[in-house]
Symmetry: C2
Subunit: 375 residues, 2 copies
């Protein structure tokens, strides 16, 4: 694999991860510079403290004008080719490429708000929404999905996530690095090209805060790491196991809140992607494809399930010793073409109602034979 870094016309970083000879993209970077006339990225995001919940909410009003479902000929994630306007990627082809988001929720150099409290009131602290948002293009082929990538390409994507996790964790002020993919217009994806995202948060997100609170209580009581004990308990029970490999276990969590949900955890204690060894990464690439392939046949008559796949990694500093890597893959589809909506109880009260059971989800996953993705 060859890694080549460059910058876009507005100064954003872009990094090619080439896995196939001839290294098309990296080789061409000097000639194929980004010649677009781009305004600098507006880094106007602010985080406000929601005193009713104790959570930080990011306000990124510049994002409301972001690119929305462009025609394929205008896809900003395709390579730049002679017959069409320049895209975000100034190369005629690429394997995997990562670059800073042009419409970032969190931005390096975010301007501090004029005061450190909204209206100067103690109730409402605010701060710049610093951090970083990156886009990861999995392939230059606009029409592929992650589940259809060849195994070596999945390995390259994972290598890119490892690289970015390491680099972003080393930046000052980053609390946690979250690599994720949203797929499907049903969940609001605004660009059809197969891609993922990386958010480097400047503060621990609420779900991590909750996990850390739970992990600390568990550790105080038992002296053990909660996520390790959960994995052991799932393996002991076996009722929600989807698949096991030499290095990984895929299971439906015992209190799954989504209509389709599976967690993939390493058998060895690992804090984040950077600590994985080569055999673990190889094994993961195959299992990831297996899980996504089954997801795409979870419901009869639904070809490609909308899903969210996110890597929960140990925090960079605070709470790192209790963190343990796992991948969460879930869908909001509850029946063929029927989405689970988060209505009054979930959105208003945070009280989740599931229309299925974790054991039923696991049984369905196990019943699906691996195989090619239906088109």
């Amino acid at each position: 694999m060859r890694k080549t870094a460059t910058t876009l016309a507005d100064g954003r970083e872009l990094i090619y991860f080439d896995d196939t000879e001839p290294y098309t993209s990296g080789a061409a970077t000097r000639e194929l510079r980004d010649r677009r006339d781009l305004d600098p990225v507006a880094a106007t995001s602010t985080m406000r403290y929601d005193v009713l919940t104790g959570e930080w909410v990011t306000l990124a009003s510049h994002r409301n004008s972001r690119t929305f479902l462009p025609a394929v000929a205008e896809c900003p994630l395709c390579p730049t080719r002679a017959d069409r306007p320049a895209t975000e990627i100034p190369a005629e082809d690429y394997d995997v490429v990562v670059f800073e988001n042009r419409f970032p929720s969190l931005a390096r150099g975010a301007e501090p708000p004029a005061t450190d409290h909204v209206d100067g009131d103690d109730l409402w602290p605010q701060r710049p929404a610093s951090g970083r948002c990156e886009v990861v293009c999995f392939t230059s082929d606009h029409d592929l999905g992650f589940a259809e990538l060849p195994l070596p390409r999945v390995r390259t994507v994972l290598a890119a996530l490892v690289d970015r996790t390491r680099a972003l964790s080393a930046l000052p002020g980053i609390a946690q690095v979250y690599c994720f993919e949203n797929r499907g217009e049903e969940i609001g994806v605004t660009l059809g090209h197969p891609h993922g995202q990386i958010y480097a948060y400047p503060a621990l997100p609420p779900r991590t805060e909750a996990l850390l609170r739970q992990s600390r209580a568990h550790h105080a009581r038992t002296g053990r790491v909660l996520l390790r004990d959960v994995l052991d308990a799932e393996r002991r029970s076996g009722r929600r196991i989807v698949a096991t490999t030499e290095h990984w276990t895929a299971y439906v969590p015992a209190a799954a809140r989504w209509p389709v949900e599976v967690h993939v955890a390493p058998n060895r204690d690992v804090a984040d992607l950077t600590e994985l060894r080569d055999p673990e990464l190889e094994d993961l690439a195959a299992l990831y494809l297996d899980v996504l392939g089954r997801l795409d046949r979870f419901f009869d008559g639904v070809g490609k399930l909308p899903y969210i796949a996110g890597w929960h990694q140990a925090p960079v500093e605070e709470g790192r010793e209790l963190g343990r890597l796992y991948l969460q893959v879930f869908s909001l589809m509850r029946a063929p073409h029927r989405m689970k909506f988060l209505a009054g109880s979930e959105s208003g009260m945070g009280a989740w109602i599931s229309d299925t059971t974790p054991e039923a989800i696991a049984a369905r996953f196990r019943a699906i034979a691996p195989g090619p993705v239906p088109s």
Copy 2:
């Protein structure tokens, strides 16, 4: 107003709230009994403790087969008339009616699970999802919306919510009563007839737990009630005020996470709907219509905005002294016909990104003149 209670064929409670002479529904209940052949409601819901978040998740798998967007002629919330099959309401007409949900997430008499821990493992406590779910029909007119109800009818709906809050709070094992309305297929409403719902939770929902945690910390620090201080601070600032009346204040919260959100709070300290006085209820009915009317013109070209409106009431027992009533009205629409989706950051990490600012939301609300709802 006349209140008449009866029972449906499967034993569920149904209560008419008649506000208009002749009292059509109540008068007829003896003759118009529910003659359908209904199986008893399946009360199979279970709550499982999600050890990763510390939240209870309700599993209600019987709900996946609930009625889904039936044709108007088969609407189960319309009155029962000679020319069509019997509905949930065994009367030829009604004003407002409340009855127990046939597909309840939480059910009285829910069977305890076989063991009090999933797979007998300490990590995963479980319990019956007891409590109660009720449906509130606002009008017998299938095609009206709440915002189009005549003022006296809004007053009757509020009276019904007061009545039900009092009754459900008195049931054993109820921690909090949540009255809410979901409107719009965009957020998953499965029945088009104008209606709300009431959930009587057997445990404090996560959002209330968070508010209570915040309120306790604020009280320990200041000796004051957090929600009172928030209201005072909003009135002092004025930047996010939408409307004020003699008894109420409508404002956009300083850290609003939804693209459209307004809170409506009583000026007097009130724990829940049952403590409101008549002039406050009268005043509220008019302000509620005003807010919903503005909501329906929030975006140009969007007639009826999908929304969730929920009453946050003080807990029944634990934490009641720090509770304070407010109505939360919000929409997931972020631009005309574009929904805010909860994707990776929100759904996976609980880290909210808003595409607007609370001040912009408030300015838009203020700019909308009250008036009839566009059709």
